[in-house]
């Protein structure tokens, strides 16, 4: 009820008075607190890669996470393919640590949902993250969409869906949105087979966007994970 009044006042005033800035901070704090309750987890994951020049079947594996930034995807000798980023793709890593400025960007519609948009800017100039923009479901205090601009790895964009583990801000589904570069190898090296046929199995697509969807299930949260789990090399 109180929140609704706040929202009405927000729309009526149409500006971001100091009261809303505090509210933005408060929302951010709530979110952060939720996220930081997760010290570690293990989850079964399914990876679906949708990249125009890749044919990859669904990859099943186990995701390990330990706060603050240890993460590993295990496929028991099988391959895992994740976007090349030096930052682990966990929420806790995509939200900058340390002192930050929380800027209220108001609300916005995202995929038909009205979400609160916060811009998080670290005070520290040297932080890997330059800024993070969060689209938050205020009621549930959950990040639905984020765009993190990093120092070295461009912008990371993710969509999140939650279900059984919403209370921990652990998503059931994460969709990583990719900007793709062209992939090409000389035909003289690859000796492709289907070149002689008019119909090829891969049609070159003009789309430069791709996605990686990670489906999480069977989270085991805060049971304690040894650091050794993250020392295994998969190569």
């Amino acid at each position: 009820m109180m929140r609704n009044i706040f929202l009405i006042c927000f729309f009526l005033l149409g500006t971001v008075p100091p009261a809303f800035a505090i509210q933005a901070d408060a929302l951010y704090d709530q979110l952060n607190k939720k996220v930081l309750t997760v010290k570690d987890y293990t989850a079964q994951v399914k990876l679906k890669i949708d990249v125009n020049y890749m044919r990859v079947p669904q990859l099943n594996g186990t995701m390990f996470f330990k706060s603050p930034n240890k993460m590993r995807l295990e496929r028991k000798g099988g391959l895992s393919i994740l976007p090349k980023k030096n930052i682990n793709l966990t929420l806790s890593n995509l939200i900058p640590t340390g002192k930050v400025a929380v800027l209220d960007q108001g609300t916005a519609l995202y995929n038909g949902r009205k979400l609160r948009v916060l811009k998080i800017v670290p005070d520290d100039d040297q932080n890997q993250i330059i800024l993070t923009k969060l689209w938050i479901d205020e009621d549930a205090v959950l990040v639905i969409h984020l765009e993190t601009t990093t120092r070295n790895d461009g912008t990371i964009m993710m969509d999140m869906e939650y279900n059984n583990y919403a209370s921990y801000a652990l998503p059931d589904k994460v969709k990583i949105l990719l900007d793709l570069k062209d992939y090409k190898l000389p035909k003289g090296i690859t000796f492709d087979y289907d070149e002689w046929a008019d119909t090829k199995t891969t049609k070159p697509s003009k789309s430069q966007k791709g996605t990686i969807e990670i489906f999480y299930s069977n989270y085991t949260i805060n049971k304690g994970l040894s650091d050794l789990v993250f020392n295994k090399t998969n190569d």
Binding site: Y53, M54, R55, V56, P57, L59, L73, R75, G77, G78, L79, S80, I81, L82, P83, K84, K85, L178, L180, K181, Y183, K184, L185, P186, K187, G188, I189, T190, F191, D192, Y193, D194, E195, W196, A197, T201, T202, P204, N234, D235
Partner: protein, 279 residues
């Protein structure tokens, strides 16, 4: 004809040069496997440059399936030569040695002789492929273990899961046996003209190399003839490592290879049946 076939196979496998072929296949496989053991990661890193710019790939990239696939690529050039080594000698070698003359004084038709030599060459090619499967696949799996396979095409990257690969290899080897049979039939055809096996062996290789170039060069002029060249279809075994597998394309390729094989053997029969044996 079974007796004739047994005699042909006996003659083939009594010659030391036959075993050179098996030795070469083993040598190529060992060399590649050794290279992978010592420097495989560099090779993989280089090969995956186009993807690792944008993606982190973890896991056992360098596994038995990948290495076997790399060795199989040598099918393009090396094994046709080894097939031609025996098939090219089938008629020309006997003509040069003078034994063809004696053979043809016996109560067997020339048709029987050609067909028997073709069958013997087919069996030899099959044994070569089985041997390849053992040293390239079985040994690679033993040394490097299983894993998912990355198949790099010019414009696509295909990942095949470890439990979805073995049946592909089985079909690929079967197709390879067919492809090598086509090469053998070409070699036998050329062999029917010569009095010495060097000519047919080199000619077969020359044709394979030139046609392979034509099959792979991206020139509009060549694009017209590509679908009709047998070398375009010899690599049809690679279709089994695509996702989805282009079965109808592979079937077309197999049909074309069969047609070439039948064509070469028919031409050999027609020519050889009326040829004066002056050697």
């Amino acid at each position: 004809m079974i007796a004739l076939l047994k005699i042909e196979l006996y003659k083939i496998f009594k010659r030391p040069r036959t075993y050179i072929s098996f030795g070469i296949i083993a040598a190529i496989s060992f060399v590649i496997q050794l290279a992978m053991v010592s420097d495989g990661k560099t090779f993989v890193g280089f090969a995956l440059q186009g993807i690792t710019d944008q993606f982190d790939i973890h896991g056992t990239i360098l596994n038995g399936y990948l290495i076997a696939y790399i060795i199989l690529q040598s099918l393009l050039i090396h094994i046709p030569l080894l097939v031609a080594l025996v098939a090219g000698d089938a008629l020309a070698g006997e003509a040069g040695a003078g034994t063809l003359r004696l053979l043809l004084t016996k109560p067997i038709s020339r048709v029987q002789i050609v067909l028997t030599k073709f069958l013997a060459s087919f069996i030899y090619s099959l044994l070569l492929i089985i041997w390849l499967a053992l040293v390239a696949l079985a040994l690679s799996l033993l040394l490097f273990g299983k894993g998912d396979l990355i198949n790099l095409k010019s414009d696509t990257v295909i990942i095949l899961l470890s439990n979805d690969i073995m049946w592909r290899y089985a079909l690929a080897f079967l197709f390879a046996a067919l492809a090598m049979t086509t090469i053998a039939s070409l070699a036998i055809f050329l062999s029917s003209f010569a009095q010495n096996s060097i000519g047919p062996i080199i000619s077969t290789m020359g044709i394979v190399i030139v046609f392979t170039l034509l099959s792979n060069l991206e020139l509009p002029l060549f694009n017209l003839i590509k679908p009709y060249l047998f070398t375009t279809h010899v690599i049809g075994w690679k279709g089994f490592f695509e996702d989805p597998v282009p079965y109808s394309l592979i079937a077309k390729s197999a049909t074309i290879l069969l047609l070439y094989t039948v064509g070469f053997i028919t031409a050999t029969l027609v020519y050889f049946n009326q040829k004066d044996i002056k050697s």
